[in-house]
Amino acid sequence: MIIFAAAQILPGDVGRAILGPFADQRAVDQLNEELGTNRSVVVQYADWIGGILRGDLGDSYAFRRPVEDLVWPALQNSAKLALLAFVIVVPVAILGGVVAALGEGRFRDRVISIGGLSATAIPEFVWAVFLIIVFALWLDVLPVSAQAPDGAGVLTQARYLLLPALALVFVLFGYIARMARAGTIEALDADYARTAYLKGLPRRTVLRRHVLRNSLLPTIAVVATQVGYLFGGLVVIELIFNYHGIGELLYRAVQRQDFPLIQSTVLLIGIVYLLATLAADILYSLLNPRIRLAHEE
């Protein structure tokens, strides 16, 4: 409903936007008639909701194709990018956070904490431009565009996606590392970590079995909420790297006031976000025996 309302409030005339400023007014009216955009807002809304409930996302105004055909490939592309970014950032950031925590207050902690925070504070498009300049233009080792040629293998695709993924890694590192650091410091301070040390366990075992197991729980929740960001916040990155993901699709749809497409993409992003958060909650409770077994005596 909110998505629908927001899309409708956008100023401008759909037919005019598609046909351009110099088109004949009659042609514009006719197009509006065809698309149904001259009907009342309420009727359009009912139509749209009805369509979604039947599994029909409607037709794109601008591309003259069913929205489904546009959205699914874009979503898959975005998922690939998000997956790569995740595979890189999660282990690196957790490791960074844990290393920082183990040296709390020392030099390496400062470097990781301040570095991570700074990296996060810099917007992703700045990182993107920076990475392009360094790796694509100066060193010329990676392609500027993220879009691999059709039919490329997994590795080639990954190579193409590396730069945008790295830009995302920089942005996410700070968040995740900070959570991992905080969780680890808390667990290191806990009595059970002391118990483990006083049992005479080697430090490695204490960290692996007693500290990390407890410290990474809150981190998992943060990681999962970032999945939403990875899908929704990719507009700029995908544009810069000319990658046909859901963010880029959304951008083009907004440009052309393609309501069915805007609504569907935003809805999908919302659903992904919702599922990610749900998955995080479920995972958290599965890993945390205090929640999992709350109902056993």
């Binding site: 118990t195 040390y197 079995r209």
Partner: protein, 677 residues
């Protein structure tokens, strides 16, 4: 002493913490030895260095702590200069530690079995063998169903059970030395007694030496053969437990022992002694005797020359120039209370009738308080005792209007019906009922100054403002013996005792009729506790205020209370004059509670053991709620019928099927709670 090397030898041990770049000494030249198989108690107030000593000899000091001198030998092996591997081997084989709060000491996300098995894994046994030995170990700490417990996570076990598991882990490596640091603090009296019995039995069985650290002198008296008294990082007195507690030779020990309300001391007969002043600041090194500033016997020589450890008897030493006179330490308070308490006039201030509170918890009804009827008379102290989960705090919250009771509950103030919720009570009623919490840290807003905290209470409760408010703040501070200079400080800058005074001043701001004191001294050291108890008694004497006093410390409750109510699973089991409740015949539950508490006199009393644990509230036992654990259960009648709360002698109520005469006869066979000092 046996032929084996002593389990522990500390020789001139110095430990310091680095605070803002400066080393501050915490332990200064502590020398002591624990023979093989011996049990040694270390006592002293918080901040004296007890725990630091324990962690130093586990070689587990915080990052800013370091051993600056001396030597530590465990079973003859020198610890100083040991490599990290050596330290680990030592922890794995020679020395183990158990500390307060077993819930935190266990890893919440690992099964108990895996945690116990780890100890064996370190020693080289793993897999099925480790599992089998874990099972044996749990059986050894008297866990009746080890297999089930091994599969549990810590949060699924009760506090007593958790502490057994921790003890099992500590003893699994068959250490030479077991360090127990406040192992029963925070546990209920009956659970504490069980854990202490267990430790004593295991020690006899395994021959482990024990270093027992506690602020509770009676526990040390019961558990230890020898004691050392630590003050400001110095050992000030040492000797056999019986001798040190029976005939102390250092003014600090004398003072500590006098702070404790014991042997049936009561507020109207006896003010408690306190130890004036404060522990020296961390790292502050007085030139002479460490205790000089707080000592009533201090003379010129004490400030100039630190006394050596004088031998004062067989195996005894005291670091006091005037150890022979230690017991003539002047009292800080007149032993005789100066003015009389107003006789409670029998008119109830607050009357609760049929008060019940049922919580809905995961689909079960949990009866926290069940049909409780009691009247608190003007000017009296009603003590509320019972183990955790007995409904004490819930009942207090219901009275205050913080927790709405079930329908049908009646609460009256001066004969007028009170609304369920505090928001529906008029200002006068809110003012009349106030509370002092256990933990002043969380009860006071740490961003406000003391003046503002007390002033706010005045404005909110009485509408006092401006100069009038200022005068009243001063008067209140004066009433709780809080120096006016402290009004500008914030709670963070005050010690625990001072914070509790602020909390008391706040509670008294609205001239309350009844003040609920919910474990107000549990978090405090004994000398501070004594001062707070004196203050509460003074306020009652001067203002005729009524207290509902909740505490798990029976000595404290007995000191302050006129009448005592004993709660179990939300039911009132016994109610009567304080003295009568402490004298047989009692309700079997009261009897068990009393027998669980160790005394300073160390007399051996037969312990009444309670079977099992407090049952869950969701399925309260049929009949008498206490029957599943009652050692004196008659038979079927207890299971089927709940006994009425009968007035057995004037003013004394018991809820038990056993006739009073039978109880008297049964309990007369055991010397009970009657203690003299």
């Amino acid at each position: 002493m046996s032929l084996a090397a002593p389990a522990l030898e500390l020789d001139d041990l110095h430990v310091a913490y680095t605070v803002r770049g400066v080393d501050r000494a915490v332990l200064r030249g502590v020398t002591l030895a624990i023979a093989a198989g011996e049990s040694y108690g270390l006592v002293g107030e918080s901040g004296c260095g007890k725990s630091t000593a324990a962690f130093a000899l586990m070689r587990y000091l915080p990052r800013n702590g370091k051993i600056t001198g001396g030597s530590i030998r465990i079973a003859g092996e020198e610890l100083m200069g040991l490599s990290a591997d050596g330290v680990r081997r030592l922890r794995a084989t020679q020395v183990s530690m158990v500390y307060q709060d077993p819930g935190a000491a266990l890893n919440p996300s690992m099964r108990v079995g895996d945690q116990v098995a780890e100890v064996f894994a370190v020693a080289g046994t793993s897999g099925g063998d480790a599992r089998e030995r874990s099972r044996e170990m749990l059986a050894r700490v008297q866990i009746s169903d080890p297999d089930r417990v091994l599969r549990r996570y810590p949060h699924q076990l009760s506090g007593g059970m958790q502490q057994r598991v921790v003890i099992a882990m500590a003893l699994a490596s068959d250490p030479t030395l077991l360090i127990l640091d406040e192992p029963t603090t925070g546990l209920d009296a009956t659970v504490e007694a069980e854990v202490l019995d267990l430790v004593a039995n295991l020690r006899a069985e395994l021959g482990t030496s024990v270093l027992f650290i506690s602020h509770n002198l009676a526990v040390i008296r019961k558990m230890c053969e020898r004691v050392g008294v630590l003050y400001a990082g110095r050992l000030v007195e040492e000797g056999p437990a019986e001798a040190v507690f029976g005939d102390p030779r250092h003014p600090y020990t004398v003072g500590l022992l006098r702070c404790i309300p014991r042997g049936g001391l009561r507020k109207d007969e006896h003010r408690l002694d306190t130890i004036p002043g404060f522990l020296p600041q961390l790292g502050e090194v007085p030139g002479g005797c460490v205790f000089a500033d707080r000592c009533g016997l201090v003379r010129e020589v004490c400030r100039e020359h630190e006394p050596p450890l004088y031998p004062v008897g067989p195996g005894r030493t005291s670091r006091c120039h005037f150890h022979a006179e230690a017991q003539s330490l002047p009292r800080t308070a007149a032993p005789q209370a100066d003015a009389a308490f107003r006789e409670p006039d029998g008119v109830p201030v607050v009357r609760a009738e049929n008060v019940a509170k049922t919580f809905r918890h995961e689909g079960h009804d949990v009866r926290a308080v069940d049909a409780l009827s009691v009247a608190v008379r003007a000017g009296e102290t009603l003590g509320l005792v019972g183990e955790s989960g007995s409904g004490k705090t819930t009942f207090a919250r219901v009275l205050l209007g913080l927790t709405p009771p079930d329908d049908g509950s009646v609460i009256e103030l001066d004969g007028r019906l009170l609304a369920d919720r505090i928001t529906k009570r008029d200002p006068e009623e809110v003012r009349a009922l106030q509370i002092v919490f256990q933990n002043p840290d969380s009860a006071l807003n740490r961003r406000f100054t003391v003046r503002r905290i007390i002033g706010r209470a005045l404005t909110k409760l009485l509408g006092t403002r401006g100069a009038e408010r200022d005068t009243r703040v001063r008067a209140l501070a004066d009433a709780v013996r809080l120096d006016a200079a402290l009004l500008h400080s914030r709670p963070g800058q005050l010690s625990g005792g001072l914070k509790q005074r602020v909390a008391i001043a706040r509670a008294f701001a609205g001239e309350p009729r009844l003040v609920v004191c919910d474990e107000p001294t549990s978090a405090l050291d004994v000398s501070v506790q004594a001062a707070i108890l004196n203050l509460l008694a003074d306020l009652q004497r001067d203002r005729g205020v009524t207290y509902l006093f909740i505490s798990h410390d029976l000595g404290v409750v007995r000191y302050l209370s006129d009448r005592i109510a004993v709660l179990y699973l939300g039911r009132l089991l016994e109610l009567g004059p304080a003295e009568a409740v402490f004298e047989p015949p009692h309700h079997p539950y009261t009897e068990a509670l009393l027998s669980a508490v160790p005394t300073l006199e160390g007399e051996e009393r037969p312990r009444i053991r309670l079977a099992g644990e407090i049952p869950g509230h969701s399925e309260p036992p049929s009949g008498c709620v206490f029957h599943p654990r009652c050692p004196r259960k008659l038979g079927e009648v207890c299971e089927l019928e709940e006994p009425p709360l009968a007035e057995v002698t004037p003013g004394r109520f018991l809820r038990c099927h056993i006739p009073l005469e039978d109880l008297r006869r049964l309990q007369a066979q055991l010397p009970q709670g009657k203690t003299t000092s």
